[in-house]
Symmetry: C2
Amino acid sequence: MFGRQKEESATVVNLLANQVRRDISFGVLPPDTKLKIADLRGRYGGSAHSLREALRLLSNEGLVEASAQRGFRVSSATQDDQQDIIRLRREIETTGLRWAMERGDLQWEGRIMASHHALKAITAQLQQDPTEFALDWDEANRQFHICLIEASRSPRLMEIQNSLFEQSRRFRLAALREDVLDFDHTLSLVDKLVAAILAKQQEEAVSLLQQLIIH
Amino acid sequence: MFGRQKEESATVVNLLANQVRRDISFGVLPPDTKLKIADLRGRYGGSAHSLREALRLLSNEGLVEASAQRGFRVSSATQDDQQDIIRLRREIETTGLRWAMERGDLQWEGRIMASHHALKAITAQLQQDPTEFALDWDEANRQFHICLIEASRSPRLMEIQNSLFEQSRRFRLAALREDVLDFDHTLSLVDKLVAAILAKQQEEAVSLLQQLIIH
DNA sequence: TTCAGAAAAATTTTCAATATTTTTATAGAC
DNA sequence: GTCTATAAAAATATTGAAAATTTTTCTGAA
């Protein structure tokens, strides 16, 4: 449920990467934590090599930083990092949305409506129990954003989006814990965004998407 | 000389990655080639694990594709791939240039002039001997493009740019071999681009950069 | 305090072996 | 002849242990 979208079979390396990714996202492994292989083995199991490879994988996603001969650390999560991620997500996702709106078909519009629907439903659940549904909520979030640019037919753009989304997760979940999210406002933006997409109003949609990406 | 920009000390894994990256870029390892660890050990040396890790590294850069339980392959290089890379590079680099022009200082302008100068010099050499200087020429190319967005202060944007540049290398070197590059036209575009940057004409610079990215 | 060198810790790398999975080859059924 | 199921072979994934490097920490002297 926390995995990547592709049909990646559950290799040991992928399982380990998923666990570490989740713990980094939730702050169990705080930013800048030194990731010593020996310690990690005690926590997650797996061989030294498998863990090493899992960390190498996460370093590609940007959640972990690798420096030669100095091992791995959890990536920093300063305000600068957050700003960098947000402005990049705005660029990447609006570009993707533009391309998708030029190429998208009815099927695409259908998938957007579906993921929109799911997002609304899970958000309602989240407001009842913020801790229980945090993961599902953010996964619905991810699915919705993936959907938006799905029709762009740019595999590399989608990979970049995914990487940035994973990196932003830490900040979003932190904001959720601190209860500073305005769900009503966000949902109203999402409603308008979907409407604009269906009405093929590109610039309106782009503007709304930019307002939506704030965490 | 073919390495990444950061001060990555020469670990075995990095050395192996550099060699494989070079061979992929030059087409010694053609697109879609199955990369069997055993074969690679014969060619490049190193232990199985080091090679595996090097391939995992390259898969992050997009030059190699990893599929679970099925090993590694050289990434495909179809016309669709090339188009995807080109249009993404245009988006990424123009965004970076915009940000850089908003934040850039005199030092940045100086570095641009320096890398521009180097690029002109090496292009002249290249026209004398296209095979001997291919690598140095593309490295100067890379340095110039890195320079353009250096002042954007977006580490993630620069990483994305680097990854896309590495991916585009195969196509550029192929075009060079096929002798379909118009150096005079390219250099004139570069001249105008640098002039526009120094004159702080953002939209003009962006337009020129887009015209420059065609391989 | 600062510096140099020794000691300790951690990372990187290699070798070797086992378990899984995928691919290939073969034989039989329709 | 094509296809399916099974067996064999090849390749990948995983683990363990140990040697070689490098970085970090510690200690004592100037």
